[in-house]
Symmetry: C2
Subunit: 243 residues, 2 copies
């Protein structure tokens, strides 16, 4: 039996305030839930239309589709919904590439970026504190399980960059063409700016080197590429094509 | 004065059925609306918080933010909302590259793909008939105005591909590495499959050549890249890096 209060509690986890307060977050769908379990996240509760999956999980409850609809963030709910305990982030490994995101707003973008980073073997992301929360249901969904394995920290980017001693690379509309790169970038910090405004002036000033995806000749529109698509092209050029 | 029926009508346009029935669709935000106007789409009605913009538009109504909230699809509405008349698609130009999308479901993906295509100078997209509607508000929003300039047709992909006589390129998890390409692809049809299932068996059988983004060594996860990110990398490799 799932009480009204429980339904209210699960729905409250759509908001960051309540995820922080309760130290927990929601994951939906068999595949994503499996990946968080495989990454040793603690399941607090699991709700399923079909209990023949996830047999070893305690606190596993059978629910009907009508109830699932009431607690899901998805238009087409995906048979299973789990509440997991949040986890402490690990400390950063300064010997491998770090992706830094400044004021990223769109949860679909962040989720896609996490998935793309993992594909290209980048395991560390730092976000400015005003960025969208990694436990936002849309971030979790778009990351397709990758957010269970990628280390994501929220911090003040400027002091972090100033203190890091690593080489910093900025992505900007004007900069050295990314297509000219002759070898892999294995370490340092690669910074991407906000969807609408790019990297702030404040950060641009302290970045060592700027790269860009050159605009093809005679193309006036659009003004820019989508942030996650742009990051995919960058990682493809600095990692993918060399592996 | 905006009547209750008018509010109901505008909201009905969130559904494809009513967009088709009324041959019209909604665009939000100053930038996107400007681009549809510049592309000579007919404005049926325009609603603004601030009427000092779009001064030459007839049927332009001042509304307050409370009303805008009631008719907007956005969480943070963007001061202007316009209803435009849908337009006939143009016939295809077989001398330049065509992107074909099979059963694409996510409106954010389609919008991002339209934007990315335009960035790389690809002006034609064909979608299978079961794909998400290009006039879906989330598609329009994610395309950032590009959908006003790109020619998008909905058709049965199999007979289209069979009849086309053009070279067909499929994107699959297994195929020739896209990084090995020595020259630009200027014509033909480049096919991308559905987000979850890729290109169907039926279409794979009739495709001339398969390309893939090779999975970096030792990377087991994620299973695949996001569709729009994957398309961005493909267009970067077959267009961007040569221009």
């Amino acid at each position: 039996m799932v009480t009204k209060n429980e339904i209210k509690f699960i729905n409250s986890l759509k908001k960051k305030k309540f995820r922080d307060l309760n130290n927990s977050f929601v994951v939906e769908g068999k595949k994503s839930i499996s990946e968080f379990i495989n990454s040793n996240y603690d399941v607090i509760k699991l709700y399923s239309i079909d209990k023949s999956f996830f047999k070893n999980i305690e606190n596993h409850f059978q629910i009907d589709f009508k109830l699932l609809k009431k607690i899901s963030s998805l238009i087409n709910p995906d048979d299973h919904l789990a509440i997991f305990k949040k986890r402490e982030t690990k400390s950063l490994d300064y010997n491998s590439l770090i992706i830094a995101l400044e004021s990223i707003r769109d949860p679909g973008n962040l989720g896609t970026i996490i998935r793309t980073c993992e594909w290209f073997g980048v395991k560390q992301i730092v976000c400015s504190k005003d960025s969208v929360d990694l436990y936002n249901p849309k971030v979790v969904q778009a990351s397709m399980g990758s957010s269970s394995r990628i280390n994501i920290n929220y911090l003040d980017l400027k002091p972090f960059l100033q203190a890091s001693k690593l080489q910093t690379f900025g992505t900007a509309l004007k900069g050295e063409s990314i297509y000219g790169l002759k070898s892999k970038i294995n370490s340092g910090i690669l910074i991407f700016g906000n969807e609408a405004n790019g990297i702030s002036k404040e950060l641009l000033e302290i970045i060592d080197k700027k790269f860009s995806i050159p605009r093809p000749k005679n193309q006036l529109f659009p003004e820019s590429l989508n942030l996650a698509s742009s990051l995919a092209i960058f990682l493809s050029e600095i990692k993918g094509k060399f592996s």
